[in-house]
Amino acid sequence: MTDTTTLQYTKSHEWIQKQGDLVTIGITDFAVKQLTDLVYIDLPDVGRTLDAGETFGEVESVKAVSDLYAPIPGEVVEVNDSLADDLAALSDDPFGRGWMIKMKVADSAAGESMLDHTEYEKFCASEEH
């Protein structure tokens, strides 16, 4: 079980978990709840280099396609290919089995301006009202 208080978040509802120069990226339970029934996902190929804020994939739910954004720059080194056939993992365990990509980052300080858990919870509360 991932300790969500140790993660960092974006206002577009991505989360990252840093382990040295390796960063795991996914979308939050709040985002999954907003998206409701997910039917398709498209993720990047390993080796792709992403800038911060660049689209790295798309998800479809209720006939709506939403973009996914890389919170920090880096190179994609691993992709959760099983998600396409098991989108329930995103709903059931968005911070664990629902991870999307892993990136190698050059800048160890990348992501320091992202929201911490408390800030993200406040942001979500403000979005709901």
Partner: protein, 262 residues
Amino acid sequence: MWSESRSLVMGTQPSTLPNTCVLMIDKTGRSGAENMALDEVLLEECLSSGQRFVRIYTWREPTLSLGYFQKSLDDVATLGRLPIVRRLSGGGAILHHHEVTYSCVVPPGNEWQSDPTELYRVVHDVIIESLFQVPYECQLEYRKPTNPNNSEFLCFGRGDKNDLISEGHKIVGSAQRRRRGAILQHGSILLKRSHYTPVFSGLSDLSNREFDLKTLKTDLGRTIAESISENTISDSPQPEILDRVNRKSSSYIVSIGDDLDC
């Protein structure tokens, strides 16, 4: 009109009139690729300026638009040789023939941010209201809640709770693209049965009446724009917008044999 709209579309203070919508009603049909590219350019404009847009348009020739994730073209052959484009939005394929399409774009921070699916209801509610009035007098209603049927290739063969139906026939279906908090929503209003898809009836078939397309487009444009904004300004796409459309449009064209991996 242009100078007023220009400041809204390109201006540096998009929040000056946050609830003003630019309404574009196309007089003639564009190609499928142009229609899809123009919707995307308006989404980009909305993201950069905060401007809301509504478009009402038709298609120059019968055209099939595929949902963003529809990769198989196995079912296309049964419809004959038609131009094919890929939409930015999801859902099933739509045959754009004897129909009217609307699109609307709202910026980040919009009223439907916490649940963007509510925008389907906002727009569909005013379509119900608009088409109930004289001279249309059509009774549309939401499909009863049911398990979504997403397996059919064509959108009008699918069903979900936001569809508008008349006498059991699906008449209106909409889909969205969400980008950085902005929403592009477009939808198809089926007016008449197409010989390409004779199984789907349109409003005219069900009411045994023909509708004046120009009046219908004007009425739909006005009511949809009023549903998402407090003020409406009528305009048409300006040259620099059309330049961007021209640069993008070829990317929307799908050819049989294309690798459709998204």
